[in-house]
Amino acid sequence: MSVPTFSGGDADADLVVVGSGVVGALIADQIIGSGRSVLVLEAGPRLDRAQVVENWRDMSFERRVSSDYQGLYPQSPFATAPLNFPPNDYVHLTGKDGGSFSQGYIRAVGGTTWHWAASCWRHLRVDFRMRSTYGVGRDWPITYDDLEPYYCRAEEAMGVSGPNDPARQSPSNRSRPYASDMIPWAYGDTRFAEVVNPHGYRSVPIPQGRTVQPWNGRPACCGNNNCQPICPIGAMYNAVHTVQAAERKGAVVLAESVVYAIDTDANNRVTAVRWYDRERKSHRATGRAFVIACNALETPRLLLIAANAQNPQGIANRSDQVGRNLMDHSGFHCTFLANEPLWLGRGPAQSSCLVGPRDGEFRSQYSANKMILNNISRVGPATQQALKLGLTGTKLKEEIRRRAIHGVDLSISLEPLPESHNRVTLSESRRDGLGLACPDVHYELNDYVHRGYDAAVQQLQHIGSLFGAIEFNVTTALNANNHMMGSTIMGSDPRDSVVDRDCRAHDHANLWLPGGGPMTSASVVNSTLTMAALGLRTADVVQRMLEHA
């Protein structure tokens, strides 16, 4: 077993990984499994599930119905993450659509897989060829087929259940079946699909990182319906598990270790990263290969903070593209009361999704969308609404019940295009607990997205009519979906991209930046599985490089 060596607080390992979320964890686990020493530096703390569960149970009604997924997670004073109740302004937002980019992410061992919904979508084949096919956005330098085997491996690593009926897959280009067949639909998903599918909306099962049978020591999902903000029983894939697997093989994971500097040699190879421990003492980790896997906001922030004499614009940033092309699926919600009870809220929080509008010729003109039938219990919002009606006693109870069983909430995602003005920069005034610059984000969406919104609203009005919707409401302010992408964009030309087809920084032969950052198109689906697949593809390249070194 190969292990990192430590001397006077400094460390040396074959591979140094920054970030212990799903991407960093998968890479660490593979490389340690190949016999190379691995050091993982995680800015945030290790979390105790019971504490998070109990924090959630103690959360106020207002914060619950407002979906506060961040506030219940303990933070390290030296690794701030966004908070919204009240806002901590850690990520300062500007631009006309800045308000739609209020991201939630966790800085802790395991990363944001603590409170994802575990949706494990693949991009479509055409999503990799947006410029060639529709004349918008960019083409990836790799194809769907290049990534397909890694999608399979990522699904297997995370224990994904998905529909093994090709007619219900999106996409159906698969070389292997899902390890576990789809999570069975509850009544609401089934009935909703029955009504909308004859009209082309194509409601399909969401592939997801949980199973209805025990898997690999993980308990079966029993429908606590609480995936976000915390699965109370650990039935949802959490990168902590992959971190532990890597640790058992000899990887060393240091929590509360904030990387702030990156050293480079005359050939601009990375020689070391430097980190602060929880006592603010600085240490240095040397290595042969370096992976920064802090996703599309913290990775560019670190690259910019770590600017050195040789790389004055920031690490990996000769193209000036670090932090640019930032994307998230712009979201909005459609709520109504159906004319029949749908009993949503049984099973996982997200179970079915309308993918009919995921692709089509229209994408040359406006954004695609996907519409998730949110399967989160409607009791909270129903209670809020019923209280506003001034009801009490039995009438209040009946009204809550009526609204809870008839209530529908669709969560719609739109596809942004990579645009260089949407970017992460460093704040000139705000500093975190270590005195490091906080991130600023400037965000202004192209009309491509707004036209996509208009098209989606028309579709929603039609869907509403199929259910005789009353109190039909579509939100007008776009919301974030926590799917950050594009800010270390992938491309074959070092002049307009940050990483190459292997997620390797164009500027540094031994530095990889996998995760959401390299994603060249956003599609409309959750980004995690693509991030994980890119991570595993990176792991293969890193492994080969270390074997030949």
Partner: protein, 475 residues
């Protein structure tokens, strides 16, 4: 049945002599060509004897190909390949050699097996059944040429010849003899319990040399991290208040709610063996077990499943900072955070018993808290038919959260007090012991010289008795 868990951690450091083998992926064992009626009978007997439990690697090993390393305080014991391969397995064994191995623990080459192989029970298997077992292994099991690693224990336990001495003391080489004063059903049950299912391997306490104490048969024993309870007919300490139907249901499904749910070695016995027994055999087994002479634990005044009740603690936890993540977590907070989502805040479980109630339950009401600790550290995994009862483990490899010793103590004592109505309290040392796979047997802790002296004295005092006994059973 013995605690030979599919989770390696459970079986680590199992006392050598009780690291037995039972189990039975045999049901799913691939058939090879035509098999005789004998072989078909043998298949059933191999399931009843739970051969698969040790001889098939639980992580996807080929049926009966061995190679499963069972840790013991004396070192790892590696199960052998018992497929009919002439290279890796027992393909060269004649029937007589096979019988000698199974009944007397002597290999074809004359070397002794360790009593991890429960030959002290199998010796009671009838000649006809032994013939059927041989036919099954030779005709119906697919040969696998793989040779598992050899077992090599440290001195003096590497001297397999020492087992000859042990055998002379503790192996009575005699077949099961029916009791003419009992019914055919009772005798069938006795045969299943004593010879094939080898119940005593776990449920009978062991002496200093790790042999079963025949005077205390079935009165309960610590088995690795678990506790195999008293299954005599005593109405307080044993299962004397169970009906035969209840016992059959338990053996068939591993659960009798709310009383008891099988975990650890018993979950394996149910998963691999007991659920596949014919209903008349289960009836017979239950009939026999309920007739076992009662043995009372004098310190016990009530049955393990008669105490406790639901708790109403939830409201007290709300609205103030939780201690769950702190250095000194409150047991109630840990319970709420880790257990209540399934077992419910009241401890009542779910009405369908998928998540069992924690009161009126032997795991929380027993004087022996081992099974509560072990369930937390190693989880529960039991498969009957298409149903899999599964509780995730909270030990070192937990998918949910690895709990520290102090956390396990805190939550266990809360459960014992709040739901079990038990005065038992555990300490950090109990958890550490369970993590190690139970207490180290005296045999493994004793300095070598002392061990030899004890052995000599023991042999001397037993010799006459043993010789007499051997003479009696070998006409």
């Amino acid at each position: 049945m013995i605690a030979r868990s599919v989770y390696c951690s459970v079986i680590e450091h199992l006392p050598m002599a009780i690291v037995c083998m039972f189990a039975g992926a045999a049901i799913g064992a691939p058939a090879q060509g035509d098999t005789s009626g004998d072989a078909e009978r043998g298949r059933y007997l191999a399931v009843a004897g739970d051969c698969t439990g040790c001889h098939t690697r639980p992580d996807g090993g080929k049926p009966f190909a061995g190679g499963y390393a069972i840790s013991s305080p004396l070192g790892a014991i590696c199960s052998t390949n018992i497929t009919p391969s002439r290279i890796g397995g027992i393909g060269l064994y004649s029937e007589a050699e096979f019988v000698r191995a199974v009944r007397q623990g002597i290999r074809r080459d004359g070397a002794h097996l360790y009593p991890a192989m429960p030959y002290t029970a199998y010796t009671k298997v009838s000649d006809a059944d032994m013939h059927a077992l041989y036919a099954y292994f030779m005709q119906a099991v697919t040969p696998v040429d793989l040779q598992p690693p050899r077992t090599s224990l440290p001195f003096p336990f590497n001297l397999r010849v020492s087992m000859a001495v042990w055998n002379s003391l503790f192996l009575s080489n005699a077949r099961f003899t029916p009791d003419p004063n009992r019914s055919a059903q009772w005798n069938r049950g006795a045969y299943l319990a004593e010879a094939l299912e080898h119940c005593g391997d776990c449920h009978t306490p062991r002496n200093l040399l790790m042999a079963e104490q025949t005077s205390r048969t079935y009165s309960g024993s610590r088995v690795s991290a678990w506790y195999a309870p008293n299954i005599t007919s005593d109405p307080v300490s044993g299962i004397g208040t169970w009906t035969r139907d209840e016992l059959v249901q338990y053996l068939k499904t591993g659960a009798l709610h709310p009383k008891s749910q099988a975990a650890g070695g018993m979950a394996e016995a149910v998963t691999n063996s007991l659920q596949y027994l014919r209903s008349e055999d289960l009836d017979a087994l239950a009939t026999y077990l309920l007739s076992i002479a009662p043995i009372r634990d004098r310190q016990q005044t009530r049955t393990d499943d008669s105490s406790g009740g639901p708790a109403r603690y939830e409201a007290r936890l709300r609205g103030k900072p939780t201690t769950a993540g702190s250095e000194h977590p409150d047991g109630a907070a840990l319970y709420s955070g880790y257990c209540a989502s399934c077992h419910q805040p009241t401890g009542a479980g779910t009405p369908d018993h998928i998540y069992p109630a924690l009161f009126h339950n032997t795991a929380t009401g027993s004087r022996h808290a081992e099974n509560l600790i072990a369930a937390i550290l190693f989880g529960v995994d039991r498969k009957t038919g298409d149903y899999r009862a599964f509780m995730p483990q909270f030990g070192a490899d937990s998918y949910v959260q690895t709990l520290t010793d102090a956390q396990v103590v805190s939550v266990s004592n809360y459960v014992l007090q709040a739901f079990g109505g038990s005065s038992v309290r555990i300490a950090v040392g109990d958890v550490a012991t369970a993590r190690r796979g139970g207490p180290t047997p005296l045999l493994a802790r004793t300095p070598l010289i002392l061990l030899i002296v004890v052995c000599i004295i023991f042999i001397a005092t037993c010799a006459r008795f043993v010789l007499r006994r051997l003479r009696r059973v070998q006409p």
